[in-house]
Subunit: 234 residues, 2 copies
DNA sequence: GTTTAATGGGTCAGTATCAGTCCATTGAAG
DNA sequence: CTTCAATGGACTGATACTGACCCATTAAAC
């Protein structure tokens, strides 16, 4: 029962509805799923999709508004928009134990390498192929301050074209966990350049329909940032 | 935003606290993490670990009791025990869409193949090695009615020795989703025998510290049941 | 026997969350 | 300039969940 019990008897809810809602919205913003300037779905629709009451959603939106992440406009054709300039990092993160870092890295490798392989094994629609190419291009032309978001968006796109929504959510979750840690370490142009080369190889392998190549390229890419994280956080 | 939005704006809570608690406990029972006859943690402790009030936990336990999954005894050295003979399947499952089946299968392959690889890449403690061997043996000597539980327990053990609690939880979750579907298809001795051979290969590769072999053996194993599921549910 | 510690059984007031309803604002369309 | 539909803003009563109690029961330990 021991270790499996630890995993199964973990908390059923990680916080109250308000906190979880804020977390989700931050996920969408920080991972670049809805970019600066764009509109979120209307409150009524968003509340329904998040499975939360509109009151709770609005509390979450207010919190994000006060923190400067979103701005709301009333009236028809109004809505809640992502701020053009996002606030910088969400404050100092609690020192992550080595254990929790390894936990997240292990999960990430499984999910993202699996996603790359699965994506390459599928026959992709033209839409999917364009999506991948667009995210790759965005990543290559990203400003330094934008890079993490564009990078996340590309990785998420690879999970998306897998066709598995569960896999996509899981990738988004683990990336949020790791991004918090990554915010604590410097972003070197040298590393970005290297990342972009690897990204190109990964996307090419996926588009070519070469699962083994996609997996190994992704694994290599992930090992790079994993080493970086281990180095800076120890 | 499209597909990524679908994944990110999914419901924050899949049900009320009561339902989620029942689900978790069923997970522990159905996956064989706490076997028939054994005791669950005391209500106060379990409620704390599940992050739920004791009232809610007790409601969940009562529901499971009425359904015949557990029995409670009062007094010191009492507790809530898993029934020696568990009720059969949880009623007719809603017809799973092909999409949701593929969704779960894709996620499972990523998680479990990744887990096998990660497990083989670690230096395992003696305890871990024994754990794996014990679960494998249990699986090989399982009765037909016990097989699914013992099988799940083994797969979970492989995730456990990875050392990543998140990965373990994720494997448990996706297995629960698939077990519901597997309950709808017959369990042939012929298949069991084949499964056990594959299990032996997987565990051997993990114990030998051969990640590539562990991954490929696990992939092959999973592909087998995936084909079975696709065949019966279409 | 008596004691005692650990357990399940149950109650209650406070808080969080929800579903439903109506209001206020906006800008496009007529 | 009026109308209208879609949006954010705000309130209310009902319900779910919690945290903190205290009680009842049991079997080992003394």
């Amino acid at each position: 029962m021991d270790t499996a019990g630890d995993a199964l008897f973990r908390p059923v809810r990680t916080g109250n509805a308000f906190e979880e809602t804020v977390e989700r919205l931050l996920q969408a913003i920080r991972l670049g799923v809805v970019p600066p300037g764009e509109r979120l779905p209307a409150e009524r629709e968003l509340a329904a999709r998040l499975g939360v009451s509109r009151v709770t959603l609005r509390e979450a939106l207010h919190a994000l508004q006060e923190a400067g992440f979103v701005e709301s406009r009333r009236g028809r054709y109004g809505g809640t928009f992502i701020s053009a300039s996002l606030p910088v990092g969400g404050g100092p993160v609690p020192p992550p134990s080595v254990g929790s870092l390894e936990d997240a890295l292990t999960l990430r490798t499984a999910l993202e390498a699996g996603a790359a392989e699965a994506a390459a094994a599928r026959v992709l629609s033209g839409y999917d192929r364009d999506h991948l190419r667009a995210r790759l291009a965005e990543c290559e032309s990203a400003e330094l301050t934008d890079y993490r978001r564009k990078d996340s968006r590309l990785h998420l796109a690879i999970a998306e074209v897998t066709g598995s929504a569960s896999l996509t959510s899981a990738v988004a979750d683990v990336r949020m966990r790791l991004n918090e840690l990554l915010d604590g370490i410097p972003l070197l142009p040298r590393n970005i350049e290297h990342s972009n080369q690897q990204h190109a190889v990964i996307v090419a392998a996926v588009l070519d329909g070469d699962p083994a190549a996609a997996r190994s390229a992704m694994t290599e890419h992930l090992d790079g940032t994993a080493a970086l994280l281990r180095g800076f956080l120890s």
